[in-house]
Symmetry: C2
Subunit: 374 residues, 2 copies
């Protein structure tokens, strides 16, 4: 049994960041901050769960009574204040907050709670708590990297099944294939499916296409982008997978094969650029230069990637304008795409970790355009 | 093919509610408001999607360029403003907002966006947009009721498989059973699994227990609470299922059977109380009186239920203190529970619709405590 993450140390580093930024109070609710800081993943429901962290006081988890038994208690790290169905949790949070002049709130906290707290903490300056915890979450420790690798390997197994023709495509709807990918992500050990994009033919030109009732036909690309959350030990947060592979139902036309070759070269270049010390925007540039040189620059309509960890999209973002150099332990997607509206599109995605020895790609399943029988 | 929901009418009613409450501007982002108002379900990711609704101006959906192709355009209902990866979407929203003195924001909007908008819309009074749209969403029209019924029937089929012993329990972990329930929810037509609580033995005393590595043994209760989102037509929002059933791995001891009999009587009483015109808290009271009379009042530690629709938990809440009378088309869970910490617990849940002809229970699968072979 591996040891638990050092939650006390993580909260200490948040408090150091609060001191550095003059933040008196940090509030964390749903999303990846809580699992990272105290090992508890709050349910994304209207009942408020909120970790109240005064810079110089004890941290308290305000949580519905009926969910108190879900929490692994960590004495010395945080206390627990359960609330009954007829109590107002905003009152409780306000009572624990004192009179802060500067409050930082976690990214995914529901707006309803922010709105209610605005009136209860008057005069406070509000900021994003991700400025405090984002840089910490972005530097994965070795156990986190191994958790991401385990998740990536499970996603790779599903991709290998797709490549091997084990997932029926032609004659089935995108939605059916999406459900089958979801079932296989669970069968390979994920506890939750985060998304399973299946985009056939012209739909592959829509990067975040919602799988629908369209039936997959012979002679078209099928873009599959899927991922989920893979558990660590009981009571520890899970880590995410995220992979994109394209298959073609029959022999692809030369035009598509050429486009895919450009994409693969661009993706490889960006993976190779993912080294410690390289600004994130340079990694984006490495992919974009290849695609632009091939004449598709205006058809690569999104950034090259996003950080990944307990949540699918987090720091660091691999995007123009982000000049922050990569650090060891940064984990991120490299997923350039080329999209020709009305015709077709393609994307190729791996998760990569920046290490002192260079980029460590976690997804190693076949990168080529695999032809599946029509 | 059924016709689309009347999105224009829904936005008109939001504007009427804005006028009634003196709200100049409503902002809707992730969560169930957008699917309800315009048929588009935004991805729950950091890139901002936001519907900007001035009370007296045109509605505009601000959305990442790479997701524009996901949107079914509805001319006359809302316009689209895509944003590129290097633009600041907050700038765009602020530019569309004018100088409102009163802003309402959707419940699940990420706090990071509220924080950024606080500085861009200075002096505005902020409120919860759920005060505008919650009462609308709570009154389901006939097509929505049928969508909920279809979802409930799919969940019932999974519960029937559980009852029939088709899902292996003894010797398997809670997490494995949770994954199996999830796979079956997808196989029965759901597109997403929202949760699959599996709580064995003493864990059944934790209402929102997270399924873990505990192996299920002979002679204990297994509480299963699961649900997902079931699709309507392509491009229309899905509706949720949510059901709880308990099974026992072998013959239950008399003490547990008696507890379950109390629970079943309480649940039946609350279902029967779910009539148009009855205050929500009276429905809660109907269940609570039965459980209290049997001596378990302090072991029923949560409200009786929650509204359900595009999202799992929404208005109306069936809870003490909510004196609002039920209206026709209100859809909600009835799910009392009795929890004895360290020993066991039980919960029984159906989705019910209040109609002019009385309560319409959508879940009709066996309500008794089913014994599965150990």
């Amino acid at each position: 049994m591996q040891s638990s993450p050092d939650y006390a140390g993580r909260l200490d580093r948040v408090r150091q960041a609060m001191a550095g930024r003059g933040v008196d109070l940090a509030l964390f609710s749903v999303g990846a901050d809580l699992p990272y800081l105290i090992g508890y993943d709050a349910m994304n429901l209207p009942r408020l769960t909120m970790l109240v962290v005064p810079r110089d006081g004890d941290a308290t988890l305000v949580i519905p009574n009926l969910e108190v038994a879900r929490v692994v208690e960590r004495p010395g790290v945080f206390g627990i204040r359960g609330w009954a169905e007829t109590e107002d949790p905003i009152d409780i949070v306000a009572g624990l907050s004192g009179s802060p002049s500067s409050v930082a709130v976690g990214d995914q906290t529901w707006a309803r709670n922010v709105v209610d707290l605005l009136g209860r903490l008057p005069g406070a300056r509000w900021s994003r708590a991700t400025e405090l915890v984002g840089p910490l979450r972005a530097r994965k420790d070795p156990a986190e990297v191994e958790a991401l690798r385990t998740a990536a390997q499970a996603a790779d197994r599903v991709a290998a099944q797709l490549h091997a023709g084990e997932i029926p495509l032609v004659g089935h709807t995108e939605a059916e294939v999406s459900a089958e990918l979801s079932r296989r992500l669970l069968a390979e050990g994920h506890t939750h499916v985060n998304f399973a994009i299946v985009a056939a033919g012209p739909h592959a030109a829509s990067p975040h296409h919602e799988a629908g009732a369209t039936v997959i036909r012979p002679g078209e690309v099928v873009l599959c982008d899927f991922g989920g959350s893979f558990p660590m030990a009981d009571g520890e947060p899970g880590y995410c997978s995220d992979i994109t592979r394209c298959v073609y139902t029959g022999e692809p036309p030369g035009e598509f094969a050429e486009l895919y070759a450009v994409l693969w070269e661009a993706q490889s270049a960006a993976v190779a650029a993912g080294t410690v010390g390289t600004p994130a925007e340079e990694v984006d540039g490495a992919a974009r230069r290849v695609i632009t040189a091939a004449g598709f620059g205006d058809r690569f309509i999104h950034r090259t990637g996003h950080g990944i960890g307990i949540f699918e999209h987090e720091d660091p973002y691999i995007v123009a304008g982000n000049g922050v150099p990569l650090e060891g332990g940064n984990a991120f997607s490299i997923e350039p795409g080329i999209y020709l509206p009305g015709r077709f599109g393609a994307r190729l995605e791996d998760i990569v970790v920046a290490t002192d020895d260079g980029p460590d790609p976690l997804n190693v399943v076949e990168h080529g355009l695999v032809v599946v029988e029509a």
